[in-house]
């Protein structure tokens, strides 16, 4: 015979279980739009039943609340984060290349190739009318336009490099910050879970932080057997339970590439251990800022290519110009067309002789003296003079440079009759030779007797335009074409990979939402379900109450 009050207990357990389930449903609905929230569910099971004697089976004792669980697929999290790192990397690369494209600005009506076309046109007019001051003015103005154009391109690229450095620094700080926050959450989660159960909502917060970190860098994470949470970055533990190791930013002592922007930073672990990003936004930014070659070419590559372009262009123009004669012919022989930092030809020659090597600023007082290759550095030059010597030196230019590792990236310039190993002309520093402020000194004539009517030197200058031997990529136009084609192919690839990654990441995220997201219809259904069950349990209590009332108040009162 069961106890009279047992029915009340069963109904009560139903009341509380359904009430709690309603609470969980309500919590789910409230957090339906919370970022990173995973839906929760109340797990229940039937109370252990009483066994009825005599093989009558068991009699249920109501419901027992087991745990509030969250529904989340950790494998999807893992996949999402792996792909997210790649997305971060290519997203950064793609947006940098977009900006480089804007700086190179091809095709447009104000691009470098247009400016060069203008310049060559002016030279053609000078060839036809060398005695005319108007054509001389035009040549000077157009030459200035060429120098300003490359100055600006180079400056803007360096600005972009500085901006990238800032962005890189912010990303590193962000990563440190998030690691720190995770340590704090680790403490709360660990302490909460000591008593058993799971700290669902706080774990969600940690997962959001992990998602965010995964875009920045390639992270590995795991929870050990003792519920301690760890994050490793490139094999080094960044977060270990209650501790975190930070990445440290230090100013770079020596420029990585010759013509980098100033004040770039280096990243390493605070323990002194080195760190190179292997994936994520950090890697994208790092490579875009530092790479001068390789698959992922960065800003330094484009700065270097533009320097290389303008150096050869200026050197060839100077060679031709210095062989010509201006109207005031005695003074003109040997004048350059382009120098750096507004120098006169003589100042620039002195500069090359005394400070031309390893000079970052282009100022006197820095750098080392240019190294003379006139003498016996190159076998057999001693018997040659003039054009023969020049031919020999030009033919062996790369041999001379490559035989001496310290001359890598340098060039050989003709200064009067000497050939000097010096720095390449930098696009940020190039200017027209100040001598040419006197328009009469523009050397349009090939002979001293030819002034003013001889314009053949101007014609020789225009022929740079079609000189297929000028660059390893051909003529100036070919060079620009190759540069923008490289840029275009890289930009296109970055954009394509980025978009693919985005689709992949979105797809995975959708899958995650499919599992962990709150469905309002479902919650509504549950709400009704739990509400009805709650009402029914209450009704059971009523029934029990009536039964007890019957037993207590009305039973055994017959005949009274």
């Amino acid at each position: 015979m069961p106890s009279s009050f047992l029915g009340l207990g069963i109904a009560y357990s139903g009341l509380t279980a359904n009430q709690r389930s309603l609470q969980v449903t309500s919590h789910n609905i409230s957090n339906a739009n919370t970022e990173g929230y995973s839906r929760q569910r109340m797990d229940t099971h039937a109370y252990s039943p009483d066994v009825l004697p005599g093989g009558l089976g068991t009699l249920g004792n109501g419901v027992e609340v087991e745990a509030v669980k969250q529904i989340r697929d950790e494998f999807l999290d893992y996949k999402y984060r792996g792909e997210n790192a790649k997305f971060g990397e290519w997203d950064a690369r793609s947006s940098v290349l977009k900006e480089v494209e804007a700086i190179i600005n091809e095709p447009s009506d104000s691009s470098i190739s247009e400016v060069l076309d203008d310049y060559f046109e002016a030279l053609h007019e000078l060839n036809k009318n060398p005695e005319n001051l108007t054509t001389r003015t035009l040549v000077r103005q157009r030459a200035i336009a060429v120098t300003k154009q490359v100055n600006q391109m180079s400056e803007k690229l360096k600005e972009l490099q500085s901006d990238l450095n800032f962005e890189f620094n912010s990303a590193v700080n962000d990563l440190n910050n998030k690691a720190e926050q995770i340590v704090e959450l680790n403490k709360v989660i660990y302490e909460t879970e000591l008593e058993g159960g799971t700290a669902n909502d706080i774990r969600d917060q940690r997962n959001v932080l992990l998602d965010e970190m995964s875009e920045l860098a390639d992270i590995d994470y795991y929870e050990d057997d003792n519920n301690r949470f760890h994050i490793a970055l490139d094999g080094t533990k960044m977060v270990s339970h209650f501790n975190s190791t930070k990445l440290e930013l230090t100013p770079r002592a020596k420029k990585l590439n010759e013509d980098d922007a100033v004040d770039l930073t280096e990243v390493q672990w605070e323990t002194g251990q080195s760190y190179t990003p292997t994936s994520g936004k950090l890697k994208g930014l790092f490579e875009a800022r530092d790479n001068i070659e390789g698959d992922a070419k960065g800003i330094p590559y484009y700065i270097d290519r533009i320097n290389n372009f303008i150096d050869t262009f200026a050197e060839e123009s100077n060679r031709i110009h210095s062989e010509g004669f201006g109207i005031d012919s005695d003074k003109t022989t040997g004048l350059f067309m382009y120098t750096i930092n507004d120098m006169t030809t003589d100042d620039y020659k002195d500069y090359l002789r005394d400070h031309g090597l390893n000079n970052e600023t282009g100022q006197d007082g820095n750098g080392e003296a240019g190294i003379d290759v006139t003498s016996q550095v190159l076998n057999g030059t001693s018997t040659l003079t003039g054009d023969d010597l020049q031919e020999k030196i030009i033919a062996n230019k790369s041999k001379i440079i490559n035989n001496n590792p310290q001359y890598q990236g340098k060039t050989i310039k003709k200064v009067d009759d000497d050939y000097l190993v010096v720095d390449k002309m930098k696009a940020s520093q190039i200017s027209i030779a100040r001598d040419l402020e006197d328009l009469d000194l523009i050397a349009a004539s090939t002979t001293k007797d030819g002034v003013p009517g001889n314009g053949e030197n101007a014609l020789a200058l225009t022929q740079i335009r079609n000189n297929q031997q000028l660059y390893e990529w051909g003529s100036p136009e070919d060079y620009i074409k190759s540069l923008i084609s490289n840029l275009g192919v890289d930009g296109q690839e970055a954009l394509r990979v980025m978009e693919n990654q985005e689709v992949l990441v979105d797809e995975l995220h959708t899958k995650r939402l499919s599992i962990q997201g709150v469905s309002l219809d479902e919650e509504m259904t549950n709400m009704i379900k739990y509400q009805k069950a709650y009402s029914a349990s209450a009704r059971m209590i009523n029934v029990m109450d009536e039964m007890l009332d019957l037993i207590v108040n009305r039973l055994g009162v017959g005949g009274r």
């Binding site: 339906a32 977009k98 804007a102 091809e106 095709p107 190739s113 247009e114 060069l116 076309d117 060559f120 046109e121 053609h124 036809k128 009318n129 060398p130 005695e131 005319n132 005695d330 003498s375 016996q376 550095v377 076998n379 001693s382 003079t385 041999k399 035989n403 004539s445 002979t447 001293k448 007797d449 030819g450 003013p452 009517g453 001889n454 314009g455 014609l459 225009t462 022929q463 079609n466 136009e477 620009i480 923008i484 084609s485 840029l487 275009g488 192919v489 890289d490 930009g491 296109q492 979105d506 959708t510 939402l513 499919s514 599992i515 997201g517 469905s519 309002l520 219809d521 509504m524 009704i528």
Partner: protein, 548 residues
């Protein structure tokens, strides 16, 4: 698959965004009229566009050049046609004058008309095109002929040897010489036979002395494995052989080892010599100072099999012009028979002086050396002395810095000039000889006028043949111009064709097909609208709307 509310809103947003992006792309295309905006939109298309645009700019310039060339040659042609007409008239008058039946009045009247014709020809000779004198060669800012028919500038050997012609470029590597040289049209009255020979037989031109070079030693086939570290070298008479205890296994170690070898008084080798490897991997020890010899190297096993090779380069040399013995023949007789003045222009290290030598002062018994080199001897002034006088007072010029040499190779005498090095620096010397300044055509006209005025029948008759010669010459110049004009017209039409082709190509590569782009934009717009309307339907309702 379970579908949640967040999923739906995210997907909707993403798809809307994607549609917007597509619409933006087409909008960009339509608003700029271009298929590609950035290199990454289509690297191949963009490089093509850049190339075509540049090609068009070049073609436009070539078109302009060809048109200018055409105008230039047309102007020249008109002028020459005018000169031909005038000369035809002069010839007619000569025929008329030479028939022997004219009175003095009549020949004088003819002379008057010839003077007018001469002035007319001078006017045409000084014709300008866009402010330039077209027949003046490179002297475009000076008229060709003076009013008396002489050339406005001295005609030097440079003007006659290299015909100055303005060149325009009308295609890649395709040049056209547009100008006609006045000298070719009007000729030059030449000196007497002997003077002419002297002028032709002299070597004149430009020269530059050689650079200073230093003494050096070359050590080939370096191998440090058997080298004991004992090294000794003399530089400028000082022996460097002390203090050899540095490392020397690599190239740079070997260099620093050798650089730090000292002489007896603690001076290092690096102060007196440069030590380096050349591109053939030979070790070079080169003295730093002029005239210091590098010699007496002992190296104690440093070379595997090679040798030490001592060389000394020349110091600065004279800048020398001429001679070429094979062709240049000068004789004393030429000096003795010549009766004219020869003018030279000397430009020594950039300073130019004109020197005139009157050959008529030399006569029987004088020889080449008297005229050119001997100072202060008979009769008074030689060329050498005149040069020294002309240059006296020029900074850095000492008497005899420009040297006039008369040399004999056994059979022939020849004349050449050299400039001494200027304080160790190489000198430059440029010698020009002035060939005259009187036009042959003008001279013939002047002779004709004189003949008319003195009623000299032979003189008048001579002009007929002179005029025929000049007319032939003018006609051949005109035919050259005619050929150029034809070529220009061909080139112009070719440029036009090219321009049309390249413009077409550019348009294909760059321009948007408007109707296609608009159609695509409309398509996207429809998709976008559909997405919006379905979104509005699916996002809105939920079970809540249906619960009481």
């Amino acid at each position: 698959m379970r579908v949640t509310n967040q999923m739906m809103s995210r997907n909707l947003l993403r798809n809307l965004n994607r549609n917007m992006q597509d619409m933006q792309d087409y909008q960009d295309q339509l608003s700029t009229g271009k298929k590609v905006q950035d290199p990454s939109d289509g690297p191949v298309a963009v490089t093509k566009i850049v190339k075509y645009k540049s090609d068009i700019r070049a073609l436009e310039q070539y078109d302009k050049n060809a048109k200018d060339a055409l105008s230039f040659t047309e102007t020249s042609e008109l002028a020459i046609a005018d000169i031909t007409d005038a000369l035809d008239r002069a010839r007619e008058l000569a025929v008329q004058g030479a028939n022997g039946t004219n009175s003095e009045e009549e020949t004088k009247a003819i002379a008057k008309e010839i003077k007018q014709l001469k002035n007319h020809i001078i006017g045409e000779a000084n014709k300008t095109f866009a402010g330039k004198y077209i027949f003046s060669g490179f002297h475009t800012d000076e008229k060709l002929l003076n009013d008396d028919g002489t050339y406005n500038f001295d005609v030097t050997n440079v003007d006659t040897d290299q015909t100055p012609q303005t060149t325009y470029e009308v295609g890649v590597g395709e040049d056209i010489k547009v100008s006609t040289n006045g000298l070719d049209l009007f000729g030059l009255v030449e000196k007497d036979t002997e003077t002419k020979q002297i002028l032709e037989n002299m070597s004149v031109g430009k020269a530059k002395g050689n650079d200073l070079e230093h003494s050096y030693a070359k050590l080939s086939d370096i191998d440090t494995s058997n080298y004991t570290g004992n090294f000794s070298v003399d530089v400028g008479g000082t022996t460097f052989d002390q203090n050899h205890d540095a490392e020397y296994s690599t190239k740079s170690e070997l260099i620093s080892h050798l650089e730090t070898i000292e002489d007896g008084s603690g001076n290092q080798l690096s102060e007196s010599a440069n030590v380096y490897f050349n591109t053939e991997n030979e070790l070079i020890i080169e003295s730093k100072n002029d005239g210091e010899e590098v010699e007496n190297i002992t190296h104690d096993g440093l070379l595997a099999s090679g040798s030490v090779n001592y060389q000394t380069e020349q110091t600065a040399t004279n800048a020398k012009v001429g001679p070429d013995f094979d062709e240049k023949v000068l004789t004393d007789t030429m000096i003795q028979n010549s009766n004219e003045e020869i003018k030279f222009k000397f430009s020594y290290n950039g300073v130019e002086k004109e020197v005139a030598l009157d050959l008529s002062q030399f006569g029987a018994g004088d020889n080449l050396s008297d005229a050119f080199t001997e100072n202060g001897t008979s009769p008074t002034n030689s060329l050498q002395e005149k040069i020294d006088n002309a240059f006296s007072g020029v900074t850095d010029y000492a008497t005899g810095d420009i040297i006039v040499n008369v040399e004999n190779d056994g059979t022939n005498d020849s004349l050449s000039f050299s400039g001494k090095p200027e304080s160790g620096e190489p000198s430059t010397l440029d010698v020009k000889v002035i060939k005259g300044n009187k036009s042959q055509l003008m001279q013939d006209l002047d002779d004709f006028i004189t003949a008319l005025e003195s009623n000299d029948q032979d003189g008048m008759g001579k002009f007929i043949s002179d005029a025929d010669k000049h007319l032939d010459n003018l006609n051949s110049e005109r035919s050259i111009i005619g050929a150029k004009t034809n070529r220009m017209e061909l080139i112009l039409s070719r440029i036009e064709d090219d321009n049309i082709n390249v413009t077409q190509l550019l348009s294909n590569a760059q321009d948007v097909d408007m109707s296609e782009a608009i159609m695509n934009l409309k398509n996207r717009e429809n998709v976008y609208r559909a997405a919006l309307s379905t979104g509005a339907k699916t996002i809105q309702p939920s079970l809540i709307d249906f619960l009481r």
